[in-house]
Amino acid sequence: MISAQQVVDAALAEAKRLGKADETIVLVTDRADASLRWANNSMTTNGESVTRHTTVISIVRRGEQAHVGSVRSSEVDPATIPDLVGKSQAAALAAPQARDAAPLVSGDGAPEDWDDPVPGTGAEVFGEVASALAARGFRGADQLFGFARHEVETTFLASSNGLRRRYTQPTGSVEINGKRDGASAWVGTSTADFDDVPVDSMLEQLSTRLGWAQRSVELPPGRYETILPPSAVSDLLIYLWWTMEGRAAQEGRTALSAPGGGTRVGERLTELPLTLYSDPFADRLACTPFAAASRSTETVSVFDNGLDIARVDWIRDGVINALAYPRAAAAEFGAPVTVSADNLLMTGGTASLADMVASTERGLLLTTLWYIREVDPAVLLLTGLTRDGVYLIEDGRVTAAVNNFRFNESPLDLLTRATEAGAADYTLPREWGDYVTRVRMPPLRIPDFHMSSVSQAQ
């Protein structure tokens, strides 16, 4: 297998030789994956993989108009590169004009690490996790289920005008589900390199939560004072983040569209000093600091490939502050160019989750949320389930486990009604963890969280 850098050079050279496109962007991602999965205290499906994806984006300019062809392949035989480039150029020649046309991002040559070898990963990265599971987890009385994964993906971005960018993105997570006497609990964490996974303390936390379920209480549907822990908050706010599309809001198609036209940017949601943001240089959550897209959407444009990504405050001190705009959409609507990094953080207060429980007279403490889906996009009403631990708080301490519920809530409304935010912490989204692992969120206190019905699920 030739190197990714050689693929970049070969594709650009072939594009120049064929000469049917005015500009060419090449994206090559080399990725190594390893995963462990277990159920009923036994390993189940585990493996390793090595993949490469090459995207050739051809741009044909006709006056002010631009036409794009994008072809992507995981074939690694260098003999397939001419065909890939040829198909990309043919697609661009046949395509109608792109609505997001913009000049390409200029480049000033390759970064110092351009020619460095591509790092990988393998099952050996799980050594300590597997050892801890073997020593404590699988031999215990509880039934354990779970998953650990590690991905290392290196992206090479190059264009015919000299742009060269490279970034290696490690992504990892560990989640453990424990079951005891019909009760179920969950812990999870994200990690970049598996040097910092506290399996022993995760198992202790799991055991504590399963212990809380020794007493159980049945509660009916209704509105309850509820403490949402960071994982649950993240799953709700990730959905909000995904709907922060500038064009859609400007055109009246989202819950962030304003009555009378325009958007809700500038509207105060809460008096709490909450700032929701993305930042490629966030501590422990660093991620790709430039745009790298194989296709255009309402939030990214292939013309913006290579564009520096800066911190974006989506909500600043409780006020809706920004929506996503690629350069062309920003120019069309007179809005600032806003491209999101692949992480989401929210500031919070100072109280720990334990402090918030201690200051609760009667309420519910959730663990995670599941099967979150949009019911009404006009108000961003979401439905979903509580999962793996709903606990009753009485007089400042957890006294029992409660049945699960189906909820119907809008994250916009929840931010408006939240009465307290605790200290932000790194967390793993349960529902959206397949897509988003770099998250830091505070717990939130909602005085009247709407539990629409009871779920019999354990």
Binding site: M43, S49, R72, K87, G252, G260, T383, G384, S453, Q456
Partner: protein
């Protein structure tokens, strides 16, 4: 009973570029290396997935991308433990090295494996070939032609009063596999599927709100013929009707939440079947293999053959054979031939979906062929067959069912869906809700969701429509497993009548 919708006749050949891959050399290299390294069983899968996605907004192109994914996967059993490895490079040396990596994974994890893997026997299929039935290969139609059709369809909607925006999307897939195992099977397959969607949006700028209505054309294992004219789907009628239906919906009264009699159209009911029957009857879920992620099931093995799942008119089959079914194949990803079987018979839970590992765990002699991996880089797992509700023996029409309802709702088209991790509590919405008064439709309602517990819901099914109402719905994006895998699956069903289902008002649920 006979299963409605059976029968696939392959009329095509596997594409030459896939046949020209060094399939035998790769298989020989991988399987011999695995055996030499200590594997008691090994299988090789060469998997190519070509996808074309086109997305348009208001008739303008947003993106059009062709993606080809290809690689090889080796799965081994070493001393009763699974090992898996994959690689992007299709070279015999790489295939052999990948097999040795898979063996190493199994050896490393053996001390943590408490459940010894055994595979159910299956006849050997040497040199088998299977191709799905489609008329026009979507990858022989240029992107520009696809964009032109979607643009023209978008234009019809945009030209109508009250339609402010239109999104149009197309997803076409060709999936090719070569499977070989140490039992001696070697199977080459090719299948095609396509999913078109158009959605109209009407905006009330003054109020800062909007509403939508989407086409009902289901994803299907057919080719470009789905979009090329009205032969397969009547686009002319539907695109002409949507603006009027959307305008009526916006002005419709908001529903009163209460227990309500429902006639549910196949365009909506397929998704309820998927979530509350399809996933609930997956054996791997029932015994905990998905407990940390997709969830488990209330339909546990101790209830097999005993539990009442629904009313006596409920008969549900699983199959990998139905014509144009998205989960229809000749053989699964463990070399098991496609089959058809019962999951629910006369309302009683009688069957599971299985692969070659889970069949012996359940005490069944043969797998029913539900193994699938969505990528050369993912391990095959038990995935869903086409799970379908059978029509009634009496050929009741949808109008016949509506005529039985004094005060209720006829629900058409799917939209929002959610179900809990044991498949008890669900909530669905839809595209169109028509009020039923005295046995007739009487305008639309809005803000409708229905919420129920699975067995209560299916127990309330009073009647099913006849074969004339049976339609195949489905999805491209059924998610399961970690690392996450997606699978395409179809669900056939007739219209059906349900009594006293809990209907919610979504505005009330939102606190408005």
């Amino acid at each position: 009973m006979p299963h409605y919708g059976r029968g696939v006749t392959a009329q095509r050949q596997v594409d030459s570029d896939f046949l020209e891959l060094p399939r035998r050399e790769l298989a020989d290299a991988a399987l011999s290396a695995a055996k030499a390294a200590g594997a008691s069983h090994a299988d090789l899968r060469i998997h190519a997935i070509t996808t074309e996605t086109v997305q348009m907004r208001d008739g303008a192109l947003e993106s059009a991308v062709v993606n080809r994914e290809i690689g090889l996967a080796v799965r081994v059993i070493v001393d009763g433990t699974w090992g898996f490895a994959s690689h992007a490079e299709l070279h015999p040396d790489v295939a052999a090295a990948t097999a040795r990596r898979a063996v190493r994974v199994a050896q490393t994890l053996k001390p943590l494996n408490a459940e010894r893997i055994e595979l159910a026997p299956e006849p050997v299929y040497p040199d088998a070939t299977w191709v799905s039935d489609y008329r026009i290969d979507p990858f022989e139609v240029g992107s520009a032609d696809k964009i032109e059709v979607l643009g023209e369809y978008s234009g019809r909607l945009l030209a109508a009063d009250g339609v402010d925006h239109v999104s149009a999307g197309l997803n076409a897939v060709k999936e090719q596999t070569f499977y070989a195992d140490t039992f001696g099977s070697s199977i080459t397959q090719q299948r095609v599927r396509i999913m078109p969607v158009l959605q109209a949006v009407t905006v009330d700028a003054a109020a800062g709100t909007f509403d939508t209505m989407r086409t009902l054309a289901p994803p299907t294992a057919r080719g470009w013929e789905v979009l090329a004219g009205d032969d397969v789907w009547n686009w002319s009628d539907e695109l002409a009707q949507i603006p009027t239906l959307l305008a009526e919906k916006v002005k419709a009264p908001s529903v009163t939440p209460r227990p309500t009699d429902l006639v549910i159209d196949p365009t909506n009911l397929w998704l309820t079947i998927h979530e509350s029957i399809g996933h609930a009857t997956e054996y791997d879920r029932a015994i905990g293999y998905e407990a940390a992620y997709a969830g488990t099931s209330f339909a546990t093995p101790d209830k097999l053959g005993k539990m009442r799942y629904g009313s006596p008119v409920m008969n549900v089959t699983a199959d990998r054979t139905v014509e144009y079914g998205l989960a229809t194949v000749g053989y699964d990803d463990e070399g098991v031939a496609a089959q058809s079987w019962d999951l629910v018979r006369d309302g009683i839970f009688v069957g599971y979906q299985l692969d070659r590992v889970f069949a012996p765990r359940l005490g069944v002699a043969r797998s029913n062929g539900c193994s699938y991996a969505d990528s050369p880089h993912h391990v095959p797992i038990q995935r869903m067959a086409n799970v379908s509700l059978q029509p009634g023996t009496e050929d009741l029409t949808t109008d016949d069912l509506i005529a039985r309802v004094e005060d209720g709702i006829y629900i058409v088209g799917d939209k929002s869906w959610s179900i809990d991790m044991q498949r008890y509590n669900f909530q669905f919405t839809g595209q169109r809700f028509f009020r039923i008064r005295n046995g007739r439709l009487d305008g639309q309602l809005r803000d409708v969701a229905y919420q129920a517990t699975t067995t209560d819901f299916w127990g309330s099914m009073e009647a099913v429509g006849g074969p004339s109402t049976w339609r195949l719905g489905g999805a491209f994006n059924c998610g399961k497993a970690q690392p996450g895998q997606v699978a395409a699956v179809s669900h056939g069903c007739p219209s059906a009548l349900f009594r006293g289902v809990n209907v919610l008002n979504t505005q009330t649920e939102a606190g408005r």
